[in-house]
């Protein structure tokens, strides 16, 4: 997270921090383990009132930022979510709200208003099942038929797919991408829950079997949504990275505290050089993760030409080194670290879902290499 916050940003962050500490302490998070949605409607509405879903929405559409840079403000909330492994569909609602605000039409106003108030949950249907699950690979067919668009294909994993009333679906029309807002109860939409590692996140496979939607529900241009989709992905990566760094931070802080308090052979774990050196490595990975996460967020906000590279570097680095960091925290805790009773797994789980969705570290390394290769003039 950013080191220097404005007083407004600090207040905003603290308000959410206090709210989450009060309404979603770890005991409450644990109780949601078998809850089908993974969050309470009232909790989400209260969070929306605090501004969780309005930061990427223009003022004209009823939203607004704290600092003038809504995406950076949102990273503060996402970071709090990671710090506390908090429940609620933060990423998908924000991505959809931002896109409806950017390029939505009159037919999307009600959904956008509902997202802002927290009464509606919508999600983004982006990734597809293997083997067509490479980052950015879209095969779901969107065919125009008179005044309808006909959708055929499968999306997975879709976060909050079971609780969303509306689905922002990304599909292909000829050579270009198309996005359309589909009611989750439209005929031909089938939502099947997936199992997941996270305690409160829920994911689904959603099948679109010749689903017909009026073209008025198209978000942006038919066949012309490629850049909007790319931007949605950048926003998703920024939110996911900020949250993942929060999870790393808590796991690290818990383990530092453990190292001071736990005695073996008559001395604190923190006094063993073998462990101290691992803590030094972890601290370095943690600070580097904060730094690249914040830098990528600022680059996306500014529309910088290297925003994609920075997002991918952040996703790859935080995914790879964050996983090593939290697993090393587990190792230093010993057996207690792999029990359900201990809290450490809540953060390991959250980091794991963030690492694995919207492109794995390996996929983002590949994207970095391809960008570097294609930028350099061939010899």
């Amino acid at each position: 997270m950013l080191l220097a916050l404005s007083s407004d940003q600090a207040f905003f962050r603290e308000t959410t921090g206090r709210f989450l500490a009060d309404r979603a302490p770890v005991a409450a998070v644990r109780r949601l383990r078998d809850d089908p949605k993974g969050y309470a409607d009232d909790f989400w509405r209260r969070g929306a009132e605090l501004g969780w879903t309005s930061l990427l929405v223009s003022e004209a559409n009823g939203g607004g930022s704290i600092s003038g840079d809504g995406l950076v403000d949102l990273t503060l909330i996402a970071h709090e979510f990671g710090l506390r492994a908090a429940p609620g569909p933060l990423l998908p609602t924000n991505v959809v709200a931002a896109t409806l605000s950017d390029v939505g039409g009159p037919g999307h106003t009600d959904v956008l208003d509902g997202l802002l108030s927290g009464s509606t949950v919508a999600t983004w249907c982006h990734g597809e099942p293997p083997p067509g699950d490479h980052l950015g690979e879209i095969a779901l067919d969107m065919r125009r038929d008179g005044s309808d668009l006909v959708l055929r294909g499968v999306k997975r994993p879709v976060e909050a797919g079971g609780s969303a009333s509306h689905l922002l679906v990304t599909g292909r029309t000829g050579d270009g991408l198309t996005q359309v807002l589909v009611p989750a109860d439209a005929p031909g939409v089938r939502v099947r829950p997936l199992q997941t590692v996270d305690v409160t996140r829920r994911y689904s496979t959603i099948t679109f079997d010749d689903v017909r939607v009026p073209v008025g529900q198209v978000v942006g241009e038919i066949g012309g949504a490629d850049e909007q989709v790319a931007h949605q992905l950048r926003r998703a990566l920024v939110i996911s990275n900020a949250e993942a760094v929060g999870a790393m931070q808590t796991a690290f802080d818990m383990t530092v505290e453990w190292a001071f308090d736990r005695y073996s052979f008559g001395r604190a774990l923190a006094s063993y050089q073998a462990l101290k050196h691992r803590f030094a490595d972890m601290k370095t990975w943690l600070e580097a993760s904060h730094a690249i996460s914040d830098t990528a967020a600022a680059a996306v906000s500014a529309g910088a030409s290297d925003a994609d590279e920075l997002c991918s570097a952040a996703k790859a680095y935080i995914g790879e080194y964050g996983a090593e960091l939290i697993q090393d925290c587990v190792q230093i805790h010993g057996g207690i670290g792999v029990t359900f009773e201990h809290d450490l797994h809540l953060y390991l789980r959250r980091h794991t879902v963030d690492r694995s969705t919207y492109g794995t570290p390996a996929e983002h390394r590949r994207r970095l290499a391809v960008i570097a290769r294609d930028q350099e003039p061939a010899a």
Binding site: L3, Q273, H277, E287, A316, A362, A369
Partner: protein, 426 residues
């Protein structure tokens, strides 16, 4: 806009005006250089004549910076600097990206040597040396490590004995880069053997080219002869060239090493943005991958992607830690985080490039392009984790000084230095 960006009313040049002035001068006076000017790990590619030529070119370059009001951005004006802010310095680094700059003068001359002089030097010492450094007239080296021990710096055996208004130095210092073409040494010496090791040290400055200082060039495993060892025999130094109090050299030494680790976040250092560290970076991994003809292989792309990832994380980390230190949010001991990151990631990128080189890492010829020499770089890989303080020492600093974990137990802390064991037989 931040405060520093606004035009100030007290006659101080604001950041944007400074940036424009720097840009204009840089673009019409400096040549653009490929980021690949420095390739690999301390490769032995220049003859001595070429190296000396490069040194005089950089001295002239530094002089040109000075003459055009772009040297010593954060150095107080009374010592020849501009007295501006780290924000100005950052603007200069940004504007210099892709241009020629005096790389050999940055470390250790500007940091840690100039930093130590500004912090501990007397008024007379600062007036004598700081402007000369800013004009490129004095290149400094650190006479710090000794053959008897690298990490245990405070265990220095080089001895200074007082003789009237002078000091007489005897001993040996090692791992000075380019001491054979440098002018001054910042030297840590033992002045008292009868007190615990940290309390019997004193810091001096001395001209390298003088009677009693013998500079030997060390041949590294790849043939490079840039590192030197110095033998000091009855070298006489006036007391006026002492820095800090007698026997209080560790106060200076502690800050000295902080400045050394601060290199990339120091306000006195001018390294252009996007300068590859030590000639190692993803650009070399990419070049090796391209010249191997395997750039489209998935596993080779993964090597390039990982190197690129590590490259892209470095600058944000340097800025984050640098700003946190500057604002006082964290102690300057946090500079060890940057040192640890840079060391370990440079070593990793060297490995990635080596991997991308295939069999040419073992045997190559001039026709192999970027593949040539990557095997030697791999042999030299650990230089990134040794030079400038080992990564083990950085890990001690991060765990003990940043995270507050208990210090390592030592056997030399509360005994007179002459009684400290120095070998199995002692």
């Amino acid at each position: 806009m931040s405060t520093a960006d606004r035009v100030s009313t007290d006659g101080v040049e604001d950041v944007e005006t400074f940036r424009q002035r720097a840009r204009t001068w840089i673009r019409s006076n400096l040549r653009q250089v490929e980021p690949a000017t420095l390739v690999g790990v301390l490769r032995n590619e220049r003859s001595d004549e070429e190296e000396l030529e490069a040194v005089s070119h950089e001295r002239a370059l530094q002089r040109a910076f000075y003459d055009n009001g772009l040297a010593g951005v954060c150095v107080p004006p009374e010592y020849g600097g501009l007295g501006l802010t780290p924000a100005h310095q950052r603007a200069l680094r940004e504007e210099l990206a892709g241009y020629d700059y005096p790389s050999r003068l940055q470390a250790p001359t500007f940091s840690p040597c100039l930093s130590v002089l500004l912090e501990f030097g007397t008024e007379e010492q600062k007036l004598r040396h700081v402007p000369a450094i800013l004009k490129g007239e004095e290149i400094w080296m650190q006479f710090l490590s000794e053959p008897s021990g690298g990490s245990d710096v405070a265990g220095a055996l080089t001895t200074a004995v007082r003789d009237g208004d002078e000091w007489v130095l005897n001993g040996s210092k090692v791992w000075t880069t380019g001491a054979w073409w440098s002018d001054w040494g910042l030297c840590l010496a033992r002045t008292n053997w009868d007190v615990p090791k940290h309390r019997g040290l004193t810091v001096f400055m001395l001209p390298i080219r003088q009677k009693g200082v013998e500079v030997h060039r060390i041949e590294m495993l790849n043939g490079s002869k840039e590192f030197c060892q110095e033998f000091l025999t009855d070298v006489r130094i006036p007391d006026g060239d002492r820095i800090g109090d007698v026997d209080d050299g560790w106060t200076v030494g502690t800050r000295w090493m902080v400045h050394e680790r601060m290199l990339h976040s120091s306000p006195y250092v001018t390294i252009p943005d996007r300068t590859p560290n030590n000639g190692v970076g993803a650009w070399l991994t990419l070049a090796a991958a391209r010249d191997s003809g395997h750039l489209d292989d998935p596993h080779v792309l993964d090597l390039v992607g990982e190197a690129r990832m590590l490259d892209l994380v470095r600058e944000p980390l340097q800025h984050r830690i640098g700003e946190a230190i500057a604002s006082g949010a964290v102690s300057d001991q946090s500079a060890a985080i940057i040192r640890l990151f840079v060391g370990t990631t440079q070593a990793r990128i060297t490995t990635l490039t080596f991997e991308a080189s295939g069999a040419a890492a073992a045997a190559w010829d001039e026709g192999d392009g970027a593949l040539a020499g990557c095997g030697d770089d791999f042999l030299m890989r650990q230089v990134a984790c040794i030079g400038g303080g080992t990564t083990e020492m950085a890990r001690n600093v991060v765990s003990e000084r940043v995270l507050g974990m208990p210090r390592e137990r030592t056997l030399d802390r509360d005994v007179p230095f002459r009684d400290v064991p120095r070998s199995p037989s002692s």
